[in-house]
């Protein structure tokens, strides 16, 4: 069976690694306690059951034992202290990490039901698919995420990278990751935020340094602009004259709405609607025509465009690489 891509026991980043180590210690301790107490309970239930030919006399009435009470108080207290100290160490190391000067900074803003990413020092704004550089354990290049919210509470959870941290309006949070393996790591929002909480998915692309730089450069370019072909010009006009521009940004054009995701480099993403559908021509057209077919209850309204207009807008969007 293929391993789950969201398995908390397969960490690839230091916060998730620290948690993994601690969790093994805790689970083994709990398992040991379970085995011992389970065995005692099972033994008692079997050994002290009343037999059929019993003489109906009551067994000896024992009211208590101070030594036993002390023993099974002191031992659990010691176990608790050990677990507490182990936990405190990991809390301190994860919540107060060292911050090397070259660390990448991303501001994550949670929305109903998508993720906004701003890389302030790189002048990049994108949505839903987070790109970060690979980190070498010998010379770590972590990514620090500042977590904000534009509306309700959300939570950023990509299990293989780190534990979850909530995005709460008026309460900025910080988390960090330093993945030491390339690939795409998935997760999703983990704090109920409204109707489409279930499809507020996360994709984190961990790329080797050179590939990451190429991605950065591509994201920093302004919109490619509609090619002189008729269909995409028409689509751009429909886009800019309909309410699309109220919600979406396409940098370098009049589209400057902040409610929905930035679409400047829409075609550089593998998915649309925060992971609810793959970014294919068919899905894109379906999303524009009828968002509820993909993500019922999302905040994108059906714009009531004719089929040709839908096709035109999609053709235009397909030029936004």
């Amino acid at each position: 069976m293929q391993m789950s891509p969201t398995n908390i026991f397969a960490p690839v980043s230091t916060p998730a690694d620290s948690i993994f180590g601690l969790s093994i210690f805790v689970l083994v301790t709990m398992a040991a306690i379970f085995v011992v107490v389970f065995a005692l309970l099972a033994y008692a239930v079997v050994k002290f059951r009343s037999r059929p030919g019993d003489d109906r006399r009551e067994p000896a009435q024992i009211y208590g034992s101070t030594q036993l009470e002390l023993a099974w108080t002191v031992i659990p207290v010691l176990i608790v202290v050990a677990l507490f100290l182990a936990a405190a160490r990991v809390i301190a190391s994860v919540q107060n990490p060292p911050r090397p000067s070259g660390a990448l900074e991303v501001i994550v803003t949670g929305h109903q039901y998508w993720w906004e990413y701003r890389y302030p020092h790189l002048n990049i704004v994108t949505a839903n698919e987070l790109h970060v550089p690979l980190s070498d354990p010998a010379h770590p290049s972590p990514t620090f995420l500042t977590l904000l919210s534009a509306d309700t509470d959300h939570s950023f959870w990509v299990p293989r990278l780190a534990g979850k941290t909530d995005l709460i309006p008026n309460h900025p949070n910080q988390m960090w990751i330093d993945p030491h393996q390339t690939g795409v790591f998935v997760g999703q929002c983990a704090q109920y935020c409204g109707t489409q909480h279930a499809k507020m998915l996360l994709r984190v692309y961990v790329q080797p340094r050179d590939e990451f730089e190429r991605w950065v450069q591509q994201q920093q370019r302004r919109a490619s602009g509609a090619s002189p072909g008729a269909a995409s010009m028409r689509g751009e006009r429909v886009f800019e004259s309909t309410a699309c521009v109220n919600c979406h940004v396409v940098s370098g054009t009049p589209a400057n709405g902040r409610f929905g995701p930035d679409l400047t480099h829409l075609m550089s993403r593998d998915t649309i609607a925060a992971g609810a559908a793959p970014n294919t021509p068919q899905m894109l057209r379906l999303w524009i025509r009828n968002p509820d077919a993909i993500k019922p209850g999302s905040k994108m309204p059906a714009m009531g465009l004719s089929d040709q207009d839908v096709d035109a807008v999609a053709t235009y969007l397909e030029t936004l690489r």
Binding site: M3, S4, T6, I8, I19, S23, V26, M30, F34, V37, L41, V45, F48, S50, E58, A60, Q61, I62, Y63, G64, S65, L68, E69, W72, V77, V80, L83, F84, A86, A87, A88, I91, A92, Q95, N96, D151, T152, D153, S155, W157, P159, G163, K164, D166, I168, P169, N170, H171, Q174, G187, Q188, A190, Q191, Y192, C193, G194, T195, A198, P296, G297
Partner: protein, 557 residues
């Protein structure tokens, strides 16, 4: 000591017309009838909450299922949680407390019978108000406007901006109303226990059930009030433009979480202490031994109640409190595991060296011991904050708390049903059906809640109406859903047993279990006045003393 009843039938010979009998029940202030009303009420809501759970589990049986829309699903988990906690567990436990506490302390009724009735009807009104939401406002279109903000209703999702319409208001008002009922009952329980114990029954000679309900009542007083306060604040926000939780005006969403969980965590101890009470009465009787370590059990109970007021923010480890706060709540949460573990050991020691009889009540209690052990251990794993950063808000947490509430509390509640059914109804239940119920429910419980831990460990968050295939969650969700069928079957057998036995069970007599506390000294069912002559006691097990005059308890206490 004279505890026998006078041989006068408690009920008149000729049956009264139905309307008059109904009137008697509706206007009753007798603690026994109110107890039964509470319990029947809770069973109705158990079915409703169970249907809501079944709908959710059916929707989640495979990825991208479309049995219900996300809007309906979100209402389901909100209503399921709210119903089960406030309109099943609390009324059921208050019902048992109402019935048993006066009997066990040798009293004739609760201290304030009319307050008792008032509290019941307030709780009943709360439940009806909550379910009226399916009809109120939008009507039945799209399953009405039942609340869909989750049972802990985090701000700012509950603000008028994000929760338009009245669904959230139904949530607020129904809980405000039933909260008044809860506080009323708690006041009654405390006054009754402190002031109306029979002669000779010092605090150190009360049955453990009475101690545990006393502690539970104190917790209700301290814990339900913060929820009432928070809900008033939420109403101020929603209706008169207040800003308590309005983040745009500088308000704090986190402070709602603090207020809610200051209620929410002690609340689960309000639910579990009566469960401990049942176990502490039933396990000794079916092991034929006195409870081991009575004083330590009392101390542990008080310690649990006390510590439970200081652990609430372990529900908020992912919220971004500082490292210092997180560390404090790890410590306090772990601390509460110690007295809880002590209780498990004491129950084990009670069985040790005894002669265990596996009647249905004892079967449920034994399962409780195993299951509560597991629930406690998964709780300790969650207390480790970094581990909670992964596991929090996932199906692991859902599995943990259902393990406590179903595997712990509901199992002991079933045990209590079977143990006291003869006393309440005067009839024995059918033992074969009881055992069938036990095994069906046990299998269903473990299928559902053992395997539910796994999707959590594999990254599945809670409160999602569907999920992506390819995350490794599919097979586990399927198994979890299958368990529901067994549990439903078990509950059906249980209901059938109750009804059949009520009409056709053989007469139970005063003391079918050869037990030791005062309620077994009066008739089954007890007369309206409970005891013809107020009993007086000399030890914790007055009937043991009567049955074993050569070896009474009071020589050893």
């Amino acid at each position: 000591m004279a505890t026998t009843t006078i041989a006068i039938s408690g009920y008149p010979a000729a049956p009264r017309p139905f309307t008059l009998r109904l009137h008697d029940w509706v206007t009753t202030v007798d603690h026994k009838r109110l107890g039964i009303l509470y319990i029947l009420y809770s069973l109705i809501f158990l079915v409703l909450g169970g249907i809501e759970a079944a709908i959710m589990r059916w929707q989640l049986i495979r990825p991208h299922n479309n049995l219900v829309s996300p809007e309906v699903f979100n209402r389901m988990f909100t209503m399921h949680g709210t119903t089960m906690i406030f309109f099943v567990a609390m009324p059921m436990l208050f019902g048992f407390a109402n019935y048993l506490v006066p009997l066990m302390i040798g009293a004739r009724d609760m201290a304030f019978p009319r307050l008792n009735a008032f509290s019941f009807w307030m709780s009943a009104l709360g439940g009806m108000l909550l379910y009226f939401s399916f009809l109120g406002g939008d009507g039945l279109y799209g399953a009405g406007s039942a609340p869909d903000v989750g049972w802990f209703a985090y701000a700012p999702l509950t603000a008028k901006t994000f929760s338009v319409g009245h669904s959230t208001d139904f949530w607020i008002l129904s809980l405000l109303v039933s909260g008044i009922g809860s506080v009323g009952t708690a006041i009654n329980i405390i006054a009754t226990i402190l002031c109306m114990r029979c002669p000779g029954m010092t605090l150190g000679k009360m049955p453990l059930l009475v101690w545990l309900n006393l502690t539970m009542a104190v917790l209700v007083i301290l814990a339900v009030s913060p929820l009432t306060a928070a809900q008033i604040m939420l109403l101020v926000d929603r209706y008169v433009g207040g800003h308590f939780f309005d983040t745009q005006a500088g308000g704090s969403a986190v402070i709602w979480m603090h207020f809610f969980w200051i209620f929410g965590h002690p609340e689960v101890y309000v639910l579990v202490l009566p469960a401990f009470a049942f176990a502490s009465e039933i396990i000794p009787v079916f092991s034929r031994k006195a409870i081991f370590g009575y004083s330590v059990m009392v101390l542990a109970t008080v310690a649990i109640a006390f510590i439970s007021m200081s652990v609430w923010a372990h529900h908020m480890f992912t919220v971004g409190m500082g490292a210092g706060a997180n560390i404090f709540f790890v410590l306090s949460t772990m601390a509460i595991a110690v007295p809880t573990g002590i209780k498990i050991f004491n129950w084990l020691a009670t069985m040790w060296g005894g002669k265990i009889h596996f009647a249905t009540p004892m079967l449920f209690c034994i399962a409780f011991l195993f299951q509560f052990l597991v629930a406690g251990l998964t709780g300790v794993t969650l207390a480790v904050a970094p581990f909670d950063w992964q596991l929090g808000n996932s199906y692991y947490v859902v599995a943990h708390f259902h393990y406590v509430i179903v595997g712990g509390i509901l199992f002991t509640a079933f045990a209590a049903f079977y143990y006291w059914f003869p006393k309440i109804s005067g009839r024995m239940y059918n033992e074969a059906l009881g055992k069938l119920h036990f095994w069906l429910f046990l299998i269903g419980f473990h299928l559902t809640f053992d395997f539910m831990h796994i999707p959590g460990l594999l990254g599945m968050p809670r409160r999602i109406y569907t999920y992506e295939p390819g995350r490794g969650w599919d097979i586990w969700n399927l198994i979890v859903t299958i368990g529901v069928a067994f549990q439903a079957a078990g509950v059906l057998v249980f209901a059938a047993n109750l009804v059949l036995s009520y009409f056709r069970g053989r007469a139970a007599g005063n003391d079918p279990w050869d037990a030791w506390t005062l309620e077994w000294s009066t008739s089954s069912p007890p007369p309206e006045y409970n005891y013809a002559v107020v009993p007086s006691v000399r030890s914790r097990r007055p009937l043991w003393d009567l049955k074993h005059p050569e070896d009474p308890d009071w020589r050893y206490e």
